[in-house]
């Protein structure tokens, strides 16, 4: 339940990129249609090419080459940030990420670093159909030396990007499209006095935000969610608390891979039940790995098997009513929480 009137996520992200360009001459933005006056398909970079014409470059429709050019820049000490217009198109960058960018450091015995950041709008809910609605991050999870980070309303993107620029591993930063028009939530402030917000700084350099209606000791289920799923889960946590007296603690990790297990362990140790939420297709994904790891770490103390909420293993239709059947909705998440909270 984001507050009215706060800075919306897309502007917060645009401001972040502007701040990075202003303070760090190594930062270069590349991407299709990111230059003014268009400013990117989701307007995140609007205004930046006007003020930084050499360092904010619109490119041809060539995802592989853009990603590879960013690799070359990063190898030479620059800090390129690439916008991949739709997450669906990250398949076209995949060889560069897997066989080049994520390998250079280890393959060359750590003589070089290749800290490329790929940003990409992901997810459905806008009726864009089978090739413009996907959440494909699961295909990047587990690539050695690649970090996968998810945009969130609960953590200032400047905090996140400052951390990413302070280290040398490459990053895929996934931005759920439905976050763009939503207002940022100040997790440390009083934007949403109904919900309790906490920050577990964890060990990976990026924190995990905790959200619940009541203190952790009263919660009987942990929900591990990111992207728009985190917003849905937070809303569900509030509704279930006031309408059904079901208390869930939502954990929103900034980094979804590698998973920072500490914050999750601290919550599950208390609630002894876990639901994961992702918008990618079900199976072989984030929830599967989290379920496997948590089952191992909490074998014998979990009250029930880990539940994973994900999209149907099918294409995402363009028609609204069909799309809603395929991707996790508020009710599916609430129902999973109800079951797991018992």
């Amino acid at each position: 339940m984001p507050a009215e009137g706060g800075l919306i996520f897309s502007r917060a992200l645009g401001n972040t990129l502007r701040a990075l360009l202003e303070r760090d001459p190594r930062v270069i933005l590349l991407g299709e249609d990111i230059a003014d006056p268009y400013g990117g398909a989701f307007k995140v970079t609007r205004g930046l090419s006007t003020d930084f014409p050499d360092r904010v470059r619109t490119t041809p429709v060539s995802e592989a080459a853009i990603t590879g050019i960013a690799a070359g820049l990063a190898l030479e000490g620059f800090r390129p940030i690439v916008e991949v217009m739709f997450c669906d198109f990250t398949t076209l960058c995949f060889d560069q990420v897997l066989n080049h960018i994520a390998k250079y450091g280890a393959m060359y015995d750590h003589q070089v670093e290749c800290p490329v950041i790929l940003r990409t709008p992901a997810g459905g809910g806008r009726g864009y159909g089978p090739t413009h609605s996907q959440s494909l991050e699961k295909h990047f999870l587990g690539i050695p030396h690649l970090r996968v980070v998810a945009a969130s309303l609960y953590l200032d993107p400047l905090t996140v990007f400052s951390q990413l620029l302070s280290q040398s591993e490459p990053v895929l930063y996934v931005e759920h499209k439905l976050l763009y028009p939503l207002s940022m939530v100040d997790a440390g402030g009083d934007d949403s006095p109904e919900l309790l917000f906490g920050l577990d700084s964890g060990e990976c350099g990026l924190p995990t935000v905790t959200i619940s209606a009541v203190p952790r000791r009263e919660c009987t289920v942990t929900v591990f969610a990111y992207g728009y799923g985190a917003v849905q889960a937070a809303n569900a946590a509030w509704d279930l608390a006031i309408e059904e007296e079901i208390f869930a603690e939502i954990l929103v990790p900034a980094q979804i891979a590698p998973v920072d297990w500490g914050p999750l362990e601290r919550s599950v140790a208390v609630t002894r039940s876990l639901v994961t939420v992702e918008e990618g297709t079900a199976g072989w994904g984030w929830g599967s790995e989290v379920a496997a790891q948590v089952s191992r770490r909490f074998f014998g103390s979990l009250r029930r098997p880990v539940e994973s909420v994900a999209s149907a293993r099918d294409v995402i239709p363009a028609a609204r009513h069909l799309e809603q059947q395929r991707i996790p909705g508020a009710e599916a998440i609430a129902q999973a929480i109800r079951e797991a909270a018992r």
Binding site: S62, I69, L73, E76, D95, M107, Y108, D109
Partner: protein, 317 residues
């Protein structure tokens, strides 16, 4: 770098200072140095193939026997600050650029004091100003990105990408040529057309023209059909100077021939074709220009240099 204790060497550290018997001294006449370096590359790879036969090397390797003139002729015109991105067939490019035979052989024998600590092996090498990767085509945009870095910094240096005719099947090559031309990047593409893509002749792989693929993007392209190191040296000098002067991309297509197999023992090419190409062996083409006695001295020095290196690693193995 050699003997870096961080890597926990068990073995006595190798000396990675380039051996003058292999790379020649700066005062050596150019004709002799070019021959010496080509012979160095040849002897190194022959030693590598012998070590494979003896079971002392692990994995696979792609030799450039027959293409040494390309490596040596291009390297002659690069200066510290320039960058080379090479491919799977990278020994010659690496050795011509760095002279680091010890580091490369240590790498191929899996030693922690190899070029990449034994991780990279034959086709994933890294040194200041040099990298190679075994996935074809994907190195092109990285080379262009390095060129962009040089342009943004105003260094005046250039980025060289070595590719082969087979790599022209990869789409990312054309994405990169387009951007390199649009952004006027100081990228020098050297396409070594050795007529065969692994086991497949060019006629089954390539429609239309080769140089036209570069020219279609407005990239000035020279094409030479030669294994003569002097011709390559001369042409590379002009082309690299032009890239430096204009700060924009150019391509050099060299029609050459791989006299050895693709990797270790995979050669189904017509024997007569391969034999006829030995007449154009770059060592033969240029070797006849040298005084016979001097040539013999150079060959002997190079053999000694490679021999002592192989012995050193054999003792340590």
């Amino acid at each position: 770098m050699a003997g870096d204790s961080r890597r926990g060497n068990r073995l006595p550290a190798i000396d990675r200072t380039p051996d003058l018997r292999l790379v020649g001294s700066p005062e050596e006449p150019r004709d002799e140095r070019l021959f010496r370096r080509m012979f160095f590359l040849r002897c190194f790879e022959e030693a590598v193939l012998d070590l494979f036969s003896e079971g002392l090397l692990n994995g696979t390797t792609h030799c450039c026997i027959g293409q040494e003139a390309d490596c040596v002729g291009i390297a002659e015109h690069l200066t510290p600050g320039d960058h080379v991105f090479s491919n799977h067939r990278c020994h010659g490019h690496y050795l011509a650029h760095t002279g680091d035979a010890a580091g490369l052989l240590a790498e191929m024998t899996g030693r922690s004091d190899g070029v990449c600590g034994g991780v990279g092996g034959s086709q994933h090498l890294c040194a200041p100003g040099f990298k190679s990767n075994g996935v074809l085509g994907g190195t092109m945009p990285a080379a262009a990105g390095i060129a962009l870095a040089q342009q943004l910094r105003g260094t005046g240096h250039l980025s060289v990408a070595f590719i082969g005719d087979g790599t022209l099947g990869e789409g990312v090559v054309y994405e990169t040529l387009n951007i390199a031309s649009l952004w006027r990047l100081p990228l020098f593409v050297v396409c070594e057309d050795n007529a065969w893509s692994q086991s497949t002749p060019k006629r089954l792989n390539m429609a239309g023209g080769l140089r036209e693929r570069f020219e279609a993007f407005g990239i000035p392209t020279r094409e030479i059909d030669t294994t003569d190191v002097l011709e390559i040296d001369h042409t590379a000098g002009e082309e690299i100077a032009a890239v430096r002067h204009a700060g924009s991309p150019r391509a050099l297509v060299i029609q050459t021939y791989r006299l050895c197999h693709h990797s270790k023992s995979d050669d189904n090419r017509p024997l007569a074709e391969v034999e006829s190409r030995w007449l154009l062996d770059p060592l033969r083409v240029h070797g006849v220009r040298l005084d016979g006695q001097r040539r013999g001295e150079i060959e002997s020095e190079v053999r000694q240099g490679i021999g002592s290196l192989v012995e050193c690693l054999r003792r340590a193995a």
